[in-house]
Amino acid sequence: MKKNVLLWIGGGMTILLFAIALFGSYLPFIDSELKEERFRMHDGHLLKAPYDVSWENPLGSSKFGVDNLSRIVVGAKETLLIVFAVSLLRYAIGIPLGLLARRRRGFAHALLTFLNQLFSSVPALLMTVLFAAIPFFLFSTGRLYWMIGIMALVEIGRVGYIVQQQAAALSGEAYMEAGRASGLRPFRLFKAYYLPALLPEMVVHFCLDLGKVLILIGQLGVLTVYLNPGSAEAGMNNDFEFVNTAHDWGSMISDHVPDLNFGHFGSIMIPVFAIVYAVMAFSLLGEGLRRKFNRNGPGA
């Protein structure tokens, strides 16, 4: 049997990613407290952060002396939690909505069409930023949760649409008719008939969706839209500036965007590469799963 290379590579990369996120902080060379070290004595010389790549800082350090490798590892857990929260929310709402809309009429279908139209006429990224800028979300203490909700909402239409199409196709199958003829209630029909048939496709789409959410987080990072701006630092005249205290990869990118104006690309590429790695891991896993399910045939 031909080995499913994609699944092995994708699975391996994903497992490594989870391992780093869960256990990385405990590794001896990772500084899990992310201490700032603005000055350092080396060979009798006084060095000032940011430090170059060295054994102490395998990936260099930030402007405040925080080791970049430690920051990436500590931020992995936060980032993955956000990504999973967004995707789970999308599917938790998208799947029922899609199932309810399978007959292409009625309230659920109208709602789905509305959501799809809304977030396809103005690109998703811009809609997300538009919602994020609303003072109610921007200044609330639960801002991270609102942002998760916003990021989830913006693509629910797409998820629901896919589910709707597949559920509509399934509805025509003979065994579905049998189920309906037996007088099963809709909820039971969903649970016992639709969901098992949809599950393989949904799992594949979920994995690919994880990658898409991570890309969205990265894009928001490049635009310096912080997911979780942290505490506010006072300026003069009753204004204030958000000071980033979060460590997710998107915020890391945002922290380093000003460096681009000085031509320093090194610092921003570290979280970018982390995101690229994770996106590749999820995409390969999703593709590998798709090949596996296609090979086993429907009803696996």
């Binding site: 139209q117 310096t224 506010a232 500036e241």
Partner: protein
């Protein structure tokens, strides 16, 4: 039946537009209090009075004077929106054309390779490149062109051939490989069909079967993706324009949203610009829809 469907989709389009306008008109005011520990505590709760006032004055301005208000620089919004859209339009059109012109041949190439053992080079590279995040490529290109200039190409050019070539090239990357994937899949599914086998069995030369039957039917399938691709390009345009500092439609709207880390300057939100550009986007998307539909009709007549 058709009329009912188009009325319904028009109604939904109007609802969508009104929803976007309502979100854009939300007032950006917030209050700040100082708590006993001298921390500043911002409060962004919606001020319904101010919101109602915003909506009322905007609607009055729009219906009486036909204007969308003024930008932060005091200019009327209309011409600014048109200018921004005109800046982006060549890039969008160019990226779509390049996407199809280069994507379809790549897709055919991938399909032909897929039957040999070099299939990884074809569909493998295609899949890899369309799975990469777009900002990755953008940052790499910006870094490379700035640090290792090739032939005096300027990344931030506003006029000259680079001002079109660079954004079109950047925006077209994903479409090329996306269309290549779709084309390859469409050809693969057409090849399995009975009429193709029949034609071949009857002795028709391979290339005639391919161009007359397979490609023209596959083309119809590929062209259904015209609209989603157009929408994707609008989305990726935001980052391209932002990193090149070009106030095209997407970036100008981003500036109008005025998301800001330094909150003192959130007085610059321009709801008129947001609404104007959103309307422009909707018209564009309908145009993509129309083009895709017409192109499909032309191809699947056979």
């Amino acid at each position: 039946m058709l009329i009912a469907a188009s009325i319904r989709s028009l109604l939904i389009a109007v609802c969508v537009f009104v929803a976007v306008a309502l979100v854009a008109l939300i007032p950006r005011t917030f209050t700040v209090t100082v708590d006993p520990d001298y921390w500043l505590v911002p409060d962004g709760r919606l001020d319904w009075q101010a919101y109602g006032e915003n909506i009322r004055s905007f609607a009055a301005n729009f219906f009486e004077n036909g204007s969308l208000g003024t930008t932060r620089y005091g200019e009327p919004v209309g011409p600014v929106v048109v200018k921004a859209l005109l800046l982006s339009l060549p890039v969008i059109a160019g990226a779509l054309s390049v996407g199809f012109l280069l994507g379809i041949p790549k897709g055919i190439f991938d399909y032909l390779l897929s039957r040999t053992r070099f299939s990884v080079l074809g569909s493998g590279t295609t899949w890899l490149i369309q799975a990469l995040p777009d900002f990755f490529l953008l940052l790499v290109v910006r870094w490379y062109l700035i640090h290792h200039p090739i032939a005096d190409i300027r990344f931030f050019a506003r006029e000259g051939w680079e001002s079109l070539a660079i954004p079109i090239a950047l925006a077209a990357v994903y479409p090329i490989f996306y269309i290549a994937r779709i084309t390859s899949a469409a050809i693969a599914s057409e090849e399995g069909k009975m009429y193709v086998k029949t034609a071949r069995a009857k002795g028709m030369p391979d290339h005639v079967v391919f161009s007359r039957h397979v490609m023209s039917n596959a083309a119809g399938r590929v062209l259904t993706h015209f609209m989603p691709l157009g929408v994707y390009i609008l989305s990726s345009l935001l980052l391209i324009e932002a990193l090149r500092n070009v106030p095209g439609a997407s970036y100008r709207m981003f500036q109008a949203i005025d998301y800001n880390k330094v909150t003192a300057s959130t007085g610059n939100a321009e709801p008129g610009v947001i609404i104007g550009i959103a309307f422009g986007f909707m018209v564009l998307v309908q145009l993509f829809h129309l083009i895709g539909y017409l192109a499909r009709r032309r191809f699947s007549i056979r």
